[in-house]
């Protein structure tokens, strides 16, 4: 018997894992350097969900110290992921800058074509 309730409770994790694996697959399977970076971005972004989902409690508020609120969501994952987003953006920027330079030098951004060019020398 399929435990629908179990799946429903964990569906955000299934999506996270799906995004993670598809991102990693694009990085490995694609030869186009821009597409590889997109896959890498997807892979990194999926990890943000892994952190954020457990931090949320249904009915929980921001940690405001007041008698009116009893249930708080943990704010720390958001802070961590804010940092991780910055890191991800910086990585993508450096990666794209490298692709621009590679394109200037080789006139291509396809890995196979570039490797062929270097073998000729």
């Amino acid at each position: 018997m399929i435990e629908w309730e179990m799946i429903a409770y964990h569906y955000n994790y299934y999506i996270t894992i799906f995004l993670m694996v598809s991102g990693l697959y694009i990085v490995i399977a694609r030869g186009n350097m821009i597409k590889k970076l997109i896959g890498l971005g997807l892979f990194q972004t999926s990890v943000y969900l892994l952190y954020l989902a457990p931090g949320k409690i249904i009915g929980g508020t921001a940690p405001i110290y007041d008698k009116a609120y009893q249930v708080y969501s943990n704010p720390l994952p958001h802070v961590l992921i804010l940092t991780a987003i910055v890191v991800g953006v910086a990585t993508l920027a450096v990666g794209l800058a490298l692709v621009v330079r590679i394109s200037e030098e080789y006139g291509s951004i396809d890995e196979d074509e570039i490797f062929e060019q270097d073998e000729d020398q």
Binding site: Q44, L50, P54, L80, T91
Partner: protein, 498 residues
């Protein structure tokens, strides 16, 4: 002064970090170099101060960021292990910086030189940060700071393949860092803490109820960090990155970058997982020993057939990293001490070897082994220093490399695996071949016309090289700094177990 001493842990990071900001505002290479030299000059004194204090008191130094107490705020925690690694990294920074001036001036366009030093200082700050922090997420941020700086340093190599190497390293390095952060996330979900010391206490109770996420976290973190430290077979980014990076960047990174990653692996295993996970039930140490052996043999054999001198040394680095991880995976006192001693010795020897190749490239512009025929007659001191450091790499008695291998061999015997001693000796013989090949080309062949005008490099490049070669010999006799410290670290990590 006592006020300043209290803040040494944060100053260790802030000095290179502020140096990086200052160099970003300079427009001339010489000014940027001077700032980098001051920052690199101060860093080892801070590391030495921290190491001395930790050894004297026997207690870890805890530095609380922004007065937020430890498990909630970010803690910088300095114990004997990371004080020792901090010293390795900052000493290599200090010894490299005089070499940088002339080397960078010829290899990097003048308008890019200030940025080059900015990236170097960011890389130094990142590496020191990975080592000093007591917080798993903070370690990730520093890992990415140092990595992004490293990609840029590599991409500034003159050959266009440097760009390709940097891109490939960026892809693999980011995958590695992301794997690490997935592992940290799983641990955080289970325990609610990111502090290494706090994790060690909270993982024990959590293990009873949630052992699967913890084991998954261990797997993710191991693979992620192994990518960063270039454990065989996750080393494929390293040879090209080292071969096409500017000479100074290669020498600096070979001595420091992989060491910081090895430290992180040792930290999570010895300070976090070993406390809670029944490692005896999992073949973690056997798997790492098997991969280390594969690195020691296969990477050395590849080095033997390599035509490009820098790539040869890069493959040799993969093999030498195998010795370090082998010692750590043995997980007994002498084995761990051997791995730690080799971290220090390898940093010194490999930096010396890359300095020598950089000096040859500075005078001749050549990097292929065959084109450097007869270089020993034109640049005798440089080549002699290369040979001394090479002998150290082989592990000839009287050099630093012998001490590391001696410790490793005793560790293997204590583990009950005598055959491992033969493997260590056998793989050292492979190093004889690849170093010997260079010696044969450098000394016993007629100098080619291309290198007819080659002569010794300027004193600022020769002096660091000679000092490191001398240190290779000195550390082969006086083992108080390396062996003595490494043994007390091993005692500390293994908690008195034999």
């Amino acid at each position: 002064m006592s006020g300043l001493q209290e803040h040494l842990p944060i100053l260790q990071i802030l000095v290179p970090l502020f140096g990086a900001i200052l160099t970003a505002f300079t427009r001339r290479g010489i000014t940027a170099w001077a700032i980098a030299a001051i920052a690199s000059g101060i860093a080892p004194f801070i590391s030495a101060g921290l190491l001395i204090r930790v050894l004297e008191t026997g207690q870890p130094i805890s530095y609380v960021m922004g007065s937020w107490a430890a498990p909630w705020g970010i803690e910088y925690r300095v114990d004997v292990l990371n004080a020792y690694v901090l010293l390795i990294i900052s000493l290599i920074g200090l010894i490299s910086i005089p070499y940088a001036r002339k080397s960078v001036a010829t290899e990097i366009d003048s308008h890019k030189q200030p940025w080059f030093y900015t990236m170097y200082l960011l890389c130094l700050a990142g590496l020191l940060g990975i080592v000093i922090t007591g917080d798993a997420f903070n370690a990730f941020v520093f890992l990415e700071i140092s990595s992004l700086a490293t990609y840029t340093l590599i991409a500034l190599g003159r050959n266009r393949r440097a760009l390709l190497s940097a891109y490939q390293y960026l892809i693999m390095g980011t995958i590695g860092a992301t794997f690490y952060i997935i592992g940290v996330g799983l641990l955080y979900v289970v325990t609610g803490t990111l502090n290494f010391a706090d994790l060690a206490t909270k993982l024990g109770p959590a293990m009873a109820t949630h052992n699967k996420p913890i084991l998954a976290a261990m797997a993710f973190m191991t693979v992620g960090i192994s990518l960063k430290l270039a454990l065989f077979p996750l080393h494929v980014w390293l040879p090209n990155a080292y071969a096409y990076a500017p000479s100074f960047a290669t020498a600096f990174l070979a001595g420091t970058a992989t060491k910081a990653a090895i430290y992180l692996l040792a930290r999570i295993y010895f300070s976090v997982f070993a406390v809670v996970v029944p490692l005896k039930e999992l073949p973690v140490s056997e798997v790492i020993i098997a991969l280390s052996l594969a690195a020691m043999f296969l990477a050395s054999i590849t080095a033997i057939f390599e035509q490009n001198a820098k790539r040869m040394l890069a493959y040799s680095s993969v093999a030498q990293i195998g010795y370090i991880t082998l010692g750590l995976a043995l997980a007994n006192k002498m084995g761990v001490a051997g791995g730690l001693v080799h971290m220090f010795n390898h940093a010194i020897m490999k930096t010396a070897l890359f300095f020598a190749l950089g000096a040859m490239a500075y005078r001749t512009g050549l990097g292929q082994m065959s084109s450097l025929a007869g270089i020993g007659r034109k640049m005798p001191i440089t080549t002699a220093a290369f040979v001394v450091a090479g002998l150290g790499l082989i592990g000839v008695p009287g050099t630093a490399g012998f001490i590391s291998k001696w410790y490793l061999a005793i560790g293997a015997i204590n583990h009950g695996w005598t055959w491992l001693v033969f493997m260590i000796v056998l793989s050292s013989l492979l190093a004889v071949i690849y170093i010997g090949r260079f010696v044969e080309i450098a000394y016993f062949r007629e100098p080619a016309p291309e290198i007819a005008n080659a002569h010794e490099p300027p004193a600022s490049m020769l002096a660091p090289l000679v000092i490191l070669a001398a240190a290779t010999i000195y550390l082969g006799f006086d083992t108080r700094l390396t062996g003595g410290t490494a043994q007390s670290i091993a005692n500390y990590l293994l908690g008195g177990a034999p």
